[in-house]
Each structure stands twice: as structure tokens, then as C-alpha cells.
């Protein structure tokens, strides 16, 4: 008996009891539709995330962080500074290393004045897939060019509705940078007369007393430190510059990648963020510089500048494991997008498994319907089974006949169920996308129907039907032909 014969016979038998077959198949349709729509939700989200990784080339990027005291294996904290960046660049397989350097700036554009975040980016980094995608393939003309890219977030704050209208226009930016001489000068600055008052307070006769001298020294030292820090924080240089807006990117909203509203070429940003003293606004930079004994090194590339994060762009054919090991051996923490992607994939595996199990519960209910239908069918066709046995069918063939009927129920149910499930997911997707747009969240299709899901749903529909049909088929195979032929 060929598969075609089995299908023909099964369809003929199902057609005999149209209503019963329709109801049984409907159960399978509902179960498979639920199964498909649930799994397609998982698949849609998985596809969305995978697309981001692929489009942005994240698989070839790694973030490197300095370890902190909380890391269990931290012996000594290694600074992620310029020297470290150079060592990272030397690791085989690393194509590019660039730090994450973000700082606050004030901007004046048209009639708007506001404070926002700026990020520096080396020219080379704009050419890698990640930023090429974000910047739509455009780059700065040089690392020190008077050019910036702005994001939609910036436009929103500036009240601009037409992105194209800002391209080529001037933008005034102002960055504040701390200065050591401001801090030192503040110690001796006596504009409020405080120094005079303190000098008057000194009991010169008591200077002979050691305790008094110590107390006095402590007081003056504390005051000196307070004034130094106050000077560092408040007497900052304001550096103004005028730049041309080179382009508008979708920035944060398109990819959930941390892109500051203004992207500035690296060398230009260095001047703005460090104010020519090689120090940023952050007091931690000051601390690190002092700790490294390089507080007064005025070289732009001095090692005292530390970063909270640097990004490595890797050769796609290089072993990420080896690179990771090398970086960790230097005493840094590594975040690999490829590893994160594996984790995400694992999460989706469990997620889909969970959804699939819920779908299978529905399918189990449908299986009970199939068992009922098939058992009824066997009772009604007892004589027919006897005839078929008398014609020479063996136990195996009788079983196959009834299993085929179950499989056909499953196949029809699964095929229609896949279509219904997909149609339902389209409706839900349209509603969800409308809600996302209304809420200002970037809309995406959270459902996907990959080929594997179609085959999986078909396989599940048919397999569950076959399992459900096994007991009735076994009963059919056990029919006594003599009794069956005698029955009316």
C-alpha cells in the first residue's frame, strides 16, 4: 500500500463521518494555531535580536572593563588607560580599540540652549559595521574635524521636526574642564578674607606648644584640601567651539545601543573633555592621575586618563576565546557580544520550550478528541475490519490503515492550524505595533514564522495524532475477524 493509497482511503473514511471529522480536526486546528502563534512570538523576538546583532556586527565586538574590588579574582586593580589600550591593540586578532568617552556639554542651536551628553568616536571606529550602520555609512572627514553627528534625541530636545534641515548648520558647543591651577589657586585665593581671618586666629604665643602646632596644621591642611577640591569642581574652564552638523542618526531609538545625542571626532572631543590638561571633569580622573604620579603631565596622550570601558573590534576569523583569555590575563573584565548572544539563544530555547509545552497541552486535549473519534470509528467499522482481514490484510496493515487516518487528521489540522495561528499572530502583531508607535517605542514585528516552526508544528500535529491513534489502531488490529464478519 502506497502513502497515496493510505491518504485516499483515510480521506474517504473521514468523509463518511463529516461532522465528527470536522469537530476532531477543529480541535487539532485550535491546538496547533495556539502552538504556532505562541512559538512565533518567541521566534519573532529572537529574530529581532538576531537581526540587531547581525546588522550591527556585534559578533565581532567585545567590551573591556577594569575590574573592581567586587570581582572575586581581583588581586590588584589594573587601570584601563591609554597604555592598556595600546596593549589591547597588540593582541592578535584585535583590529581596533576605542574607548567609551562620554561627557556633558552645553549646546546652543538655533534658539535652544541645553545640556546634553556627547561621545567621542575615532574616525576608524566610524567605519566598522556597528557605527557604519548607526551613522548610515557616513564618517567624519578627520579625527579633529569640526564636525558632529546628532541623533533624533538631540533634534527632539532642540525642537527640530525636519532632520534634513539641520545638516550643514552650525552648532555651538561648550564643555567644562577641570584645571589643576584653578584648584591650586583656590587654596590661596582670599577674596572672602578667610585667609586673613585664619591668620588673625593664630595664637602665636602658643606655637611653642607641640599639640597646638599639630592642631593648627591639621586644620589648615583640611581647609587646604577643601579649597583644592572646591576649586577643581567649581573653577572649571569653559571651552567653546563651533562645529558643523554632518548628519542625523537614528541613534538610541533604532538599535538600543548607547549612543549619545552628539557624536564628536576623537581628537576634537579630547580637547573638549579634557580641557587641554588631559583631565576630564570627573574627580576620579584626578585621583587616578595622582595615584599614577602623572598629575602634572600635560601630554595629551598621557597614561593618567582612564576609561570605564573600551571596545575591541575583532577580526571575524580570529578566535574570540583566545582574545578573551589574553584580555583577562591583563587583569580586565570582558564582555563578549558573541557570548551574550549565546546566552540569549539559550534563554530563547527555554522560552520557546515553555511556550511549546503550553501549546502541547492544547494539543493533548485535541489528542483525546482523536482517540474518541478513532475508537468510535473502529466500533462502527468492525465488520469492515473483518472483511479487510479476510481479504488478506495482516495486523500491521490494519494498524497502518488506522494510524494513517489519525495522521491525516493531524496533517489537515496542523496545516490549517499553522495558517490560522499565523493569521492570529498577524492581527496581534498589528495591534502591538500600533501600541508601540503610540507609546513612542520603536515598532517591530514581534512574530515570525520561520520554516523550522512550520515543520515543527506539522511534525507535532502528526506525531501527537499518531500517538493518539496508536491505541485505537491496536484495538482495530485485535478485532476477531469471525466475530466481526458475523456482526451487523
Amino acid at each position: 500500500m502506497t502513502i497515496r493509497d493510505l491518504i485516499e482511503i483515510s480521506l474517504g473514511n473521514l468523509w463518511r463521518s463529516k461532522l465528527r471529522s470536522f469537530l476532531t480536526i477543529s480541535g487539532v486546528i485550535i491546538a496547533i494555531a495556539a502552538f504556532v502563534s505562541m512559538l512565533s512570538f518567541g521566534a519573532g523576538n529572537q529574530k529581532y535580536i538576531t537581526d540587531i546583532y547581525v546588522n550591527l556586527g556585534l559578533f565581532t565586538n567585545m567590551h573591556v572593563f577594569p575590574k573592581d574590588k567586587n570581582d572575586s579574582d581581583t588581586a590588584t586593580i589594573v587601570s584601563l588607560n591609554t597604555a592598556a589600550i595600546q596593549r589591547l591593540t597588540d593582541i592578535p586578532g584585535v583590529k581596533l580599540v576605542y574607548p567609551y568617552d562620554a561627557f556633558e556639554i552645553n549646546v546652543s542651536f538655533a534658539d535652544s540652549h541645553f545640556t546634553t551628553q556627547a561621545r567621542s568616536l575615532p574616525l576608524a571606529a566610524t567605519k566598522i559595521k556597528l557605527f557604519a550602520a548607526i551613522l548610515n555609512g557616513r564618517t567624519f572627514s578627520s579625527d579633529s574635524a569640526d564636525e558632529v553627528f546628532v541623533t533624533h534625541d538631540f533634534l527632539e530636545r532642540a525642537g527640530i521636526t525636519e532632520p534634513d534641515s539641520v545638516i550643514g548648520r552650525e552648532l555651538i558647543i561648550c564643555a567644562k574642564a577641570a584645571s589643576l591651577d584653578s584648584a591650586l589657586m583656590n587654596i590661596f585665593d582670599d577674596k572672602d578674607g578667610g585667609m586673613q581671618r585664619r591668620l588673625e586666629m593664630i595664637e602665636y604665643d602658643s606655637l611653642i606648644d607641640l599639640d597646638y602646632r599639630r592642631r593648627l596644621m591639621r586644620r589648615e591642611l583640611n581647609e587646604g584640601v577643601r579649597r583644592f577640591v572646591e576649586g577643581f569642581m567649581s573653577r572649571q574652564l569653559s571651552i567653546y567651539d563651533t562645529v558643523i552638523i554632518k548628519g542625523v542618526t537614528e541613534g538610541l531609538k533604532s538599535h538600543y545601543i548607547n549612543v549619545a545625542p552628539i557624536i564628536i571626532p576623537e581628537k576634537k572631543a579630547a580637547k573638549l573633555s579634557a580641557g587641554g590638561f588631559g583631565l576630564g571633569r570627573n574627580p576620579i580622573d584626578l585621583y587616578n592621575a595622582a595615584r599614577a604620579g602623572m598629575l602634572f603631565n600635560s601630554d595629551e596622550n598621557k597614561e593618567s586618563r582612564t576609561y570605564s570601558r573600551v571596545t575591541l573590534n575583532l577580526d571575524p576569523y580570529a578566535s574570540q576565546e583566545n582574545i578573551k583569555d589574553s584580555v583577562e590575563a591583563m587583569g580586565f573584565r570582558v564582555f563578549s557580544f558573541a557570548e551574550q548572544f549565546k546566552e540569549i539563544q539559550r534563554f530563547f530555547l527555554y522560552y520557546n520550550l515553555g511556550l511549546g509545552i503550553i501549546g502541547l497541552i492544547a494539543l493533548a486535549t485535541a489528542a483525546l478528541g482523536i482517540i474518541n473519534t478513532m475508537v468510535m470509528s473502529i466500533v462502527e467499522r468492525r465488520k469492515e475490519i473483518g472483511v479487510i482481514i479476510s481479504l488478506g490484510a495482516d495486523v500491521r496493515e490494519i494498524k497502518i490503515l488506522f494510524l494513517a487516518e489519525s495522521a491525516v487528521i493531524g496533517a489537515i489540522g496542523a496545516s490549517i492550524g499553522i495558517i490560522c495561528g499565523w493569521a492570529a499572530s498577524r492581527v496581534v502583531s498589528a495591534v502591538m505595533q500600533a501600541i508601540m508607535e503610540r507609546e513612542g517605542v520603536p515598532a517591530f514585528d514581534p512574530f515570525a514564522l520561520p520554516v523550522w516552526l512550520i515543520f515543527l508544528a506539522l511534525a507535532f500535529g502528526i506525531t501527537v495524532s499518531l500517538i493518539a491513534g496508536y491505541y485505537p489502531a491496536s484495538r482495530a488490529a485485535k478485532v476477531d475477524p469471525v466475530e466481526a464478519l458475523r456482526s451487523e
Partner: protein, 235 residues
């Protein structure tokens, strides 16, 4: 041919019906030669159909055995027994037992499904046999659209489509009127004349006398008479 094609030795088939044991057939020893036309006659409940089922391998004896071409049916596996029914045996029944949702052609094709006959050949063979039995015009009809005689002819076609060596007929004219009965009897006789071995169960002694070469009479599960009928039995 002198040797027995099928034979039974001390064949018994008992059923338990509650507290009672029904002795459907008891100690039956008989043999049928190739090409013979044997009629088994007897009153209702005499064990004729049980004997036929035992001979066809549909039922299993309580004791004794059925031997076909020297092989005991009881020694065959279930699959071999199915193969015996499929390849060597044809069966027709009083109530025709056609599949009501299939056309005459599909019904005749049915035994060929259980084998490796290609689809085209299957259809060709079924159409040929239906044509031979005068059912060419009715092959696309369903059993409900056919008369009793036509249905039995379709059933005979179905039994013959695999060229069996023996045909077991269980009251083949029991549900038919006189004319149709005559047609079927004529057909069976023709088939026997063409060399087909036939074992027919009937309660109608007259018909048995007319078409069979040998008559076995059963009563209360036992053979009470086994006689060769005169040569001039023709309809």
C-alpha cells in the same frame, strides 16, 4: 489431481458461551482436491460457516488441524496466515460485505492494496475481472446503487482478483432472488470449470446437487455424509 490440496484432521472448534461449551465443529476430517467443487450443506447452526472460517484461516481450531499443500495452518505465523488468505484464498459472503463508501472498482482493488501491486496494474486487473463478470458498466457505482446479484458479482470479482487457488463461498445466494441466484451459481460453475477449487456452504441441498461435484452434509458440528454427486450436474 489425486492428492488433497486442503485437508482437515480431527478438526474441533468449541466456544464457551457462559457456562456452556458450544461444539461448533467436532472431529471433522476431510480433504478437498484441487479443482473440486465441494458443497457443505446442513441446517442453520450445524457448523458449516465455522468449518469454512477454519479452512480460510480466519478462525483457529480448538484441536485438530487444517493442512494446506502439506503445511499446517496452525504452524504459520500471523503474517504467513495473512499471506495465505491474501494469495491462496478468495472469500465471498451471504451479505456480500462490500465497503459501502467505495465504488465497485475500488472494492475489487482492495485485496491488491495489501501487496506490492502498482497502482495502474491494480486498476487494470480490477477492471478486467469486473468486465469478465459482466460488470464493466457498473464499476464506478457504489454498492448501494447495485442490485444484490450485482453486489455478489462484485464480491466474486474481489475474491478472484488475486487469482486464488481456492474460493470459499459462504451462502453466496442466500440473500438473492431466484434469477440472481441462478446467475451466481452459473458463474461459480464456470469458474470451477476453469479450474478453480470451490468450497461452498449452503443450506440449499438442491443447489448443491446441481452445481457441486461433492456434497458434505453437517449436523450438530459433525459430518454426517460425504458423497460424490453424479457427473451430469449442470444448470
Amino acid at each position: 489431481m489425486d492428492s488433497a490440496w486442503i485437508k482437515t484432521v480431527a478438526l474441533c472448534r468449541f466456544y464457551r458461551r457462559g457456562e456452556y461449551i458450544v461444539r461448533a465443529t467436532e472431529d471433522i476430517s476431510l480433504s478437498v482436491k484441487k479443482g473440486e467443487f465441494v458443497a457443505i450443506v446442513g441446517a442453520s447452526g450445524s457448523g458449516k460457516s465455522t468449518l469454512l472460517n477454519l479452512l480460510a484461516g480466519l478462525d483457529t481450531p480448538t484441536s485438530g488441524f487444517v493442512e494446506v499443500e502439506g503445511s499446517k495452518l496452525s504452524s504459520l505465523s500471523r503474517r504467513q496466515l495473512s499471506a495465505y488468505r491474501a494469495e491462496k484464498v478468495g472469500m465471498i459472503f451471504q451479505s456480500f460485505n462490500l465497503l459501502s463508501n467505495q465504488t465497485a472498482l475500488k472494492n475489487v482493488e482492495m485485496p491488491l492494496y495489501f501487496g506490492k501491486t502498482p497502482r495502474k496494474e491494480r486498476r487494470k486487473k480490477a477492471a478486467e475481472i469486473l468486465e469478465r463478470l459482466g460488470m464493466a458498466e457498473r464499476m464506478d457505482h457504489k454498492p448501494t446503487d447495485l442490485s444484490g446479484g450485482e453486489q455478489q458479482r462484485v464480491a466474486i470479482a474481489r475474491a478472484l482478483v488475486k487469482n486464488p487457488e481456492i474460493l470459499f463461498a459462504d451462502e453466496p445466494t442466500g440473500n438473492l432472488d431466484e434469477d440472481n441466484s441462478a446467475t451466481i451459481n452459473d458463474l461459480l460453475l464456470k469458474l470451477n470449470n476453469d479450474g478453480l477449487t470451490i468450497v461452498m456452504v449452503t443450506h440449499d441441498i438442491e443447489t448443491a446437487n446441481k452445481i457441486a461435484q461433492r456434497r458434505i452434509k453437517m449436523s450438530y458440528g459433525k459430518t454426517v455424509e460425504d458423497m460424490i454427486l453424479p457427473e451430469n450436474n449442470t444448470l
